[in-house]
């Protein structure tokens, strides 16, 4: 019922809402000051942890700070996306 009211009263998104949403996202990026060195640090830490359990292809590993849709699909949120090719499992992980 509440959802129905929400649906009926929901206004069209105005241009200032778009502006605010875009600004919030760009500022997350600006404020975090994500330098290549920072990502490199994150990357090496992740490799260290994963290598305890799996054999991975370090040269093909790719980590990026990017944007994605939120779970409810209404907003765009920042996301850390990692593409880590696995070559094999280590016995310790089983």
């Amino acid at each position: 019922m509440i959802d129905l009211i929400k649906l009926l009263t929901r206004k069209k998104e105005t241009s200032k809402d778009v502006a605010k949403e875009r600004l919030k996202l760009v500022l997350i990026h600006d404020r975090s000051n994500v330098s290549p060195q920072f990502l490199e640090m994150v990357k090496s830490e992740i490799i260290k942890v994963i290598q305890n359990y799996m054999e991975i292809d370090e040269r093909e590993l790719d980590i990026q700070l990017t944007k994605t849709n939120s779970d409810d699909g209404e907003r765009i949120v920042p996301a850390l996306v990692a593409n880590i090719p696995i070559k094999g499992m280590k016995s310790a992980g089983r």
Binding site: T14, S15, K20, L23, L27, D30
Partner: protein, 266 residues
């Protein structure tokens, strides 16, 4: 002992110089001893906005290099008691002044003046570093546009990194009609994003262009809504508690009539 206030924004063209001229003149009208320093070396403009461009002999670079005494470079505004301008050099570059020289200059001026307003150049390079070097507090000017708000956020971060705490925000060129129909970020939206204290809201007002044409700050014009906003900001800087003005008065008669008869605002 006076106080040094830097007026900054990051982005160019949002109204730093106009804000400096109006607040400075406003403070002088309140009986304060004020000096305005233009630190935009190579692109000086505070002199023309103030209508003092014909009286420049020496400039900021002459002072820091010792080519003249400080007193000789200060232009006394004959219209407003207590108001002075230290113009920027036009034929030099930003590296002609160092942050330490600015600190020394500000200390010297504090002995004589109640308020030292520093008009900061756009950008975050040497000119910005010089402008904030001697500042006790900062006013950040922005407009309700994504580019200006983004740059303001960056500037706020840099001010804090340089230990200028608690900067205050001026939102310039607000159009209440556009805010109302959702096509311009409201003051609340901007405060929500930047998370700093607000010291004033200046409506978009064509009187600013007219007054700049004449070289007379709008703060002296009783009919100008922006002038009223600057008078309020001036009093807040002096520590008075002045409520935010109702921007509705900015709305044109036609829009009011339309609203009265139930038309959607244009």
């Amino acid at each position: 002992m006076g106080e040094v206030i830097v007026i900054t924004s990051g982005k160019g063209g949002v109204g730093k110089t106009t804000t400096t001229a109006n607040i400075g003149t406003g403070l002088a009208l309140q009986g304060k001893k004020v000096v305005l320093i233009d630190t935009d070396i190579g692109l000086r403009n505070l002199d023309v906005v103030m209508g003092l461009e014909n009286r420049i002999v020496y400039d900021l670079v002459d002072v820091v290099e010792g080519a003249c005494r400080l007193k000789q470079a200060l232009i006394k505004d004959k219209r407003y008691e207590g108001l002075h301008l230290l113009p920027a050099a036009q034929t030099r570059d930003k590296n002609a002044v160092t942050p330490q020289q600015m600190v020394d200059l500000c200390e010297e001026l504090k002995k004589e003046f109640d308020y030292i307003l520093v008009d900061c150049p756009a950008g975050i390079e040497q000119g910005f570093k010089n402008a904030i070097a001697g500042a006790d507090r900062a006013l950040v000017v922005t407009t309700p546009e994504v580019s200006a708000v983004r740059d303001a956020d960056r500037i706020i971060g840099l001010l804090e990194a340089n230990e200028i705490r608690n900067p205050k925000l001026i939102v310039n060129r607000v159009r209440h009609d556009m805010v109302k129909r959702g096509d311009m970020m409201s003051i609340e939206d901007i405060i929500d994003i930047l998370a700093i204290g607000l010291i004033g809201v200046v409506p978009d007002d064509e009187n600013i262009i007219i007054s700049t044409n004449k070289g007379e700050p709008a703060v002296t014009d009783n009919k100008s809504s922006a002038g009223q906003a600057y008078r309020n900001i001036t009093r807040r800087i002096m520590g008075e508690d002045v409520p935010l003005m109702d921007l509705n008065v900015n709305e044109g008669l036609l829009a009011k009539m339309k609203k009265l008869f139930g038309f959607k605002p244009a």
